[in-house]
């Protein structure tokens, strides 16, 4: 029987099988950020060293100020402490660090692919749940907590149990106004917020094949919001074209050797998946979330659900408390929801194509509410400025900032105040995610820009 992409990468990284079904996997690439501070502390408390510093890459993202990338701009002493510690730890252990003032700095999940650090057929680990992003290049990439990260720093390995495999096939042409963000929100709505728990997802089908790498990164990024261990797309010509010439991508004869390996990776035609999900892209509309779970996504033409029409008591109780938290009335049209502010950024939707899509809409009007645009990396920022996107945003009254995780998680002080409502291109609409009491609606960059121009959730197709 044929093998899946996941199985091929698994086998290429298996050091030893043992411990009752657990496999010791080699970690080819490890990405660290300011949040990895606890792992470095644990490592040093135990008197251990970083085993393979040349396989680790670092950049600060969660706590960095988007107002300025000088260290003094970080107002919160706890955030400043960990950004400074990242600098100290990477120097101490000889780890490549794209520091705050480095033009290669950015959100770790934007920087990895951008620099060619993320490559097909590797195991990649990072202390952040959105590590699933890197699967877009055909890598097996997953997030882990501080103890596991300590383990990876010390041993360059991880103990893993074999996941089940799920193939999600998306076919059909994406209708006008429907983007990769809408595809993944529709997938999560269908599969459920923990529906892919225990699985590694492979996204397949003509719609995924037709996507650019940036679009695939958006799709894979939110695999974790369906509960999956990882999400991946088999490498193809689009992948190779994207990687060629990037700083850490192989060059010359090494490129040919790499390419020969990459071409062996796609799942075999007779490979078997434990679960199959099918989605018709042609039926999709721009999506928006109304609740506190990414699965609470609906076409923008839809309505806020009514708890009274729910028969399942757990579901009814969830809807009641969610609508109360979100300040929404049952049955109201999603396009009647007024927003107080807009965030365009995050590892989900802050790459160049995302900013272009938002700028295309921003051109057509002026913001009615405050809008914060934070590019996914300093490289994205520079490229966007070269194209004049910053000017389009500024002319529309959008605020153009530096790169970082920013308002997606609100750790750097970019917050949504309690009771305020934010249309956001990020990945989580959890209660309090963007600040205590904040209300988040997830949507695509174009939809976010449309909401900015009208001050409410808006069907970008009708703008």
């Amino acid at each position: 029987m044929g093998k899946t992409l996941y199985e091929k990468i698994w086998e290429a990284h298996t050091i030893t099988e043992g411990h009752d079904g657990q496999t010791l996997l080699h970690v080819a690439r490890h990405l660290v950020h300011d949040g990895s501070v606890h792992a470095f502390e644990f490592l040093q408390d135990r008197g251990l060293k970083v085993r393979r510093p040349d396989q680790i890459f670092a950049t600060p993202d969660h706590g960095v100020s988007t107002r300025s990338h000088v260290m003094e701009a970080i107002g919160d002493p706890e955030q400043k402490r960990v950004v400074q510690l990242l600098d100290r730890n990477t120097r101490k252990f000889g780890i490549v660090h794209f520091a705050l003032d480095d033009p290669r700095q950015g959100i770790v999940h934007v920087v990895g692919p951008e620099q060619g650090i993320t490559q097909p057929g590797i195991v990649l680990v990072c202390g952040d749940s959105h590590t699933s992003t890197h699967g877009a290049l055909g890598a097996l990439a997953f997030g882990a907590g501080a103890s596991e990260i300590t383990h990876v720093l010390a041993t360059q390995t991880t103990w893993q149990g074999r996941s089940k495999t799920m193939r999600i096939a998306v076919d059909g042409k994406l209708p006008f106004g429907v983007t990769a963000k809408d595809v993944i929100l529709a997938i999560i709505a269908k599969v459920g917020a923990n529906g892919a728990s225990g699985y590694v997802i492979e996204y397949a089908g003509a719609t995924i094949r037709a996507m650019s790498i940036e679009e695939r990164l958006t799709v894979c990024n939110m695999s974790i919001e369906a509960g999956a261990r990882a999400g991946m797309v088999a490498p193809d010509e689009t992948t190779y074209a994207y990687l060629k010439g990037r700083p850490y991508a192989p060059k010359g004869a090494a490129w040919d050797r790499a390419l020969a390996y990459w071409k062996t990776l796609p799942s075999d035609a007779d490979a078997k998946f434990d679960a199959e999900v099918v989605l018709d892209a042609a039926q999709l509309a721009p999506m928006v979330t109304w609740g506190n779970s990414p699965e609470d996504a609906s076409p923008v033409t839809g309505k806020v659900p009514d708890p009274k029409s729910e028969t399942d008591p757990e579901r009814r109780s969830y809807l009641q408390r969610t609508l109360e938290y979100m300040g929404l009335a049952p049955g109201m049209a999603l396009t009647d929801i007024a927003v107080d502010q807009v965030f365009i950024g995050s590892c989900t939707n802050a790459r160049l194509e995302d900013l272009r899509a938002a700028a295309e809409v921003a051109k057509r009007g002026r913001a009615k509410v405050p809008v914060l645009v934070s590019p996914g990396s300093t490289q994205v920022k520079l490229a966007a400025e070269k194209e004049g996107l910053d000017r389009i945003f500024r002319d529309a009254g959008f605020e153009w900032r530096e790169s970082g995780c920013s308002m997606c998680v609100g750790m750097n002080g970019d917050l949504v105040p309690a009771g305020k409502r934010c249309a956001s291109t990020s990945n989580r609409n959890f209660a309090g995610r963007q600040g205590k009491g904040s209300r988040t609606h997830l949507l695509s960059p174009a939809m976010a820009a449309a909401a900015a121009l009208t001050g409410r959730i808006t069907d970008v197709r009708k703008l």
């Binding site: 079904g21 502390e41 706890e78 749940s129 501080a146 103890s147 974790i224 790499a258």
Partner: protein, 200 residues
């Protein structure tokens, strides 16, 4: 890691599904040094509500939490199980767990027990009827005994079970494989040499 063998203690019912990691431990506390403790930040944004279960006298001493579906989805923050453990909760029973939270808990000495949603629901009902009732979690036998005395079997990976029982952390175990790791790395660096070129 603190070993986990048998735990008997007060159990608190948490009647909410989809309790994500941002509820368990909000992001604004993530950068506190580990040694300063995280117990005071557990469910921080719910603790202002006097009706919240852990604010009610009989449940304040809870060692076990009984939740609903999809507990711990979201972030990879190990601080979520640290907050539970530092508060005194060493076991969470739920219908299913966020994948990363589940493994982070095991590494923190907090036992996540997955049982069918109906059983979790029955436990919570009993705990409401008998506030302050205790439950028992027996890791060697892999059983949970509810407030009514009925026992249920649960599943756990044998490797993680052993680590919990003995309080082992896996770095020590892994380092015993040093020879295999070194041999693998040498081969890997040869086969995938292009991964090691441009790292300047």
């Amino acid at each position: 890691m603190q070993p986990f063998v048998v735990l008997e203690g007060v159990a608190a019912p948490l009647d909410k599904s989809k309790v994500d990691t941002d509820q368990i431990l909000p992001a604004r506390f993530l950068r506190r040094p580990r040694k300063e403790g995280y117990g005071q930040f557990l469910f921080r944004d719910w603790m202002d509500d006097p009706q919240f279960v852990l604010n009610q006298a009989p449940y304040r001493e809870a060692r076990i939490l009984v939740a609903d579906r999809n507990f711990g989805g979201g972030s990879s923050r190990e601080q979520a199980p640290w907050a539970l453990s530092d508060y005194g909760i060493r076991c969470v029973i739920a219908a299913d767990f966020g994948d990363i939270f589940y493994f982070n808990s095991l590494k923190t000495g907090v036992l996540p027990v997955a049982l069918p949603a109906e059983i979790c629901s029955d436990f919570r009902k009993s705990l409401h009827q008998k506030p302050g009732a205790t439950m028992k979690v027996d890791l060697p036998a892999q059983t949970v005994t509810g407030p009514d005395g009925a026992a249920y079997k649960f599943e756990i990976d044998a490797f993680r079970k052993k680590c919990l029982l003995e309080g082992l952390d896996d770095i020590g175990i892994t380092l015993q494989h040093e020879a295999a790791i070194a041999a693998f790395e040498a081969k890997y660096r040869q086969r995938f040499d292009w991964l090691f070129h441009g790292n300047v």
